[in-house]
Symmetry: C2
Subunit: 232 residues, 2 copies
DNA sequence: CATTTACTAAACGCTTCCGTACAGTAATAA
DNA sequence: TTATTACTGTACGGAAGCGTTTAGTAAATG
């Protein structure tokens, strides 16, 4: 996506090698992608067809074929575009603002905000429907999404162990437990359209309670159990 | 589904009221449903068409229309059929074999076995794709699935509170936390085809660790912390 | 028996989409 | 300028599915 130079490192600045004729219009490319995303967003995969995309993007059908070989190819590109958004959002999660508890809560809140957002749910639904047809997409997103987040969270816990804020424990396991508690049955419910989006209050409570449960479970041998207590 | 008598209680035995002509062949009905399920199972919604179903079920296309008005109607019925299977499976979850810990672990193992099974994942994927088109299906399955399970688990915890095995706490919250920890990022991964099915060992470990975390969090003021300790 | 209902097979007209082809216009490099 | 490439609009042949119709057969009731 952000590396259009497949051969090697750019010699100096952008390659001044213009290919002879009329240059391809990147605007169109983006418009097609956006239209495809929007179409899927409001109608699922079934309403995603080359012709519909061309119509919505105000672009000739042939142009769509020129930019994306196939319908599966288009879907692939749409998912990959969503992937970069997702990865960016996950990378942008707050690292370590204050104390451990606050850091975890902040992390959890931002994460849940993302996980319960329409953007992510749409990506998820896309993948759920494409799991059979393009099996290599699932692992890709899973690795860069859930697994990466779990690893990030685990690393956060591990540094806390090194700082003596937590007893040694299986951080990867703890991270997954935390992720699980944060999500509960919420993300599933949203995915299948079974429940309304959660209010910020509900979300905050779930995140905080999860953090407190994990922290109290792995707190260092504490004389007073107030070290990680809730704020009043 | 199991109550084909919409008017009132059956007078005596089955209603001998046969409707005049040739009786409808329930075999066909079942065959169509089964074929539709199988088709979705191996190819997603896109391979689910009236004609394909008719072919697969060895049945005339007109018969399909006679039994199920529409393609959406057929999908609806397929999902509802899957629902009864799901509900049955969830009702069949073990109630209270032995001690609390063992009961929870048993419950969790059976549940996760179900949640990671192809049957359930297929239902989930169906719903994820139908969330837009038939919005009333989601809430139905969500209520009878996730919410019902959470309630059941919460009730289990509450009775333990009454028996003095646990400190009073928000059981519904705890139940959701437990469900979350059991699932972690696994169900999501499976849904999008991002990871292979978990081994029984992994599953057992996740379930046990979740149970232990919850139990230790809400254990009654314990002189010895052995009351809920792991077995060697 | 006649009547009524369920099912079949084949065909119908209609729509949508596929992927490709053609002729023409627009924008750029040499 | 010419050559080259990008894009447009339109059209094509083909496939597939929709939902309906028609004519005929099968199985039940009275």
């Amino acid at each position: 996506m952000s590396n259009p130079n497949p051969t090697s490192m750019p010699a100096a600045s952008d390659p001044p090698r213009r290919s002879r004729g009329r240059p391809p219009d990147e605007t169109k490319h983006a418009a097609i992608l956006a239209a495809a995303r929007a179409l899927f967003f409001s109608g699922g995969l079934q309403s995603l067809s080359i012709e519909a995309v061309a119509r919505a993007a105000q672009v000739s059908k042939v142009t769509v074929y020129a930019h994306f070989t196939d319908l599966p190819g288009l879907i692939r590109k749409v998912i990959l575009a969503q992937r970069t958004d997702m990865t960016a959002a996950l990378e942008g999660l707050p690292k370590t603002p204050g104390g451990l508890r606050q850091a975890l809560i902040e992390f959890g809140l931002c994460l849940m905000d993302f996980l319960t957002g329409d953007e992510f749910l749409t990506l998820q639904r896309m993948l759920a429907t494409q799991a059979g047809q393009q099996p290599w997409l699932g692992p890709l997103i899973y690795r860069e999404g859930a697994e990466a987040t779990r690893a990030k969270l685990a690393r956060l816990l591990e540094t806390s162990v090194e700082h003596g804020d937590l007893r040694p424990h299986d951080s990867l396991q703890a991270a997954e437990q935390l992720l699980g508690m944060w999500q509960g049955i919420q993300t599933t419910g949203l995915l299948i359209g079974g429940c309304p989006p959660p209010t910020p209050e509900v979300l905050r409570r779930r995140v905080e309670c999860g953090v407190d449960l994990i922290l109290s479970a792995h707190a260092p041998a504490s004389p007073a159990e107030d070290s990680v207590s809730r704020d009043p």
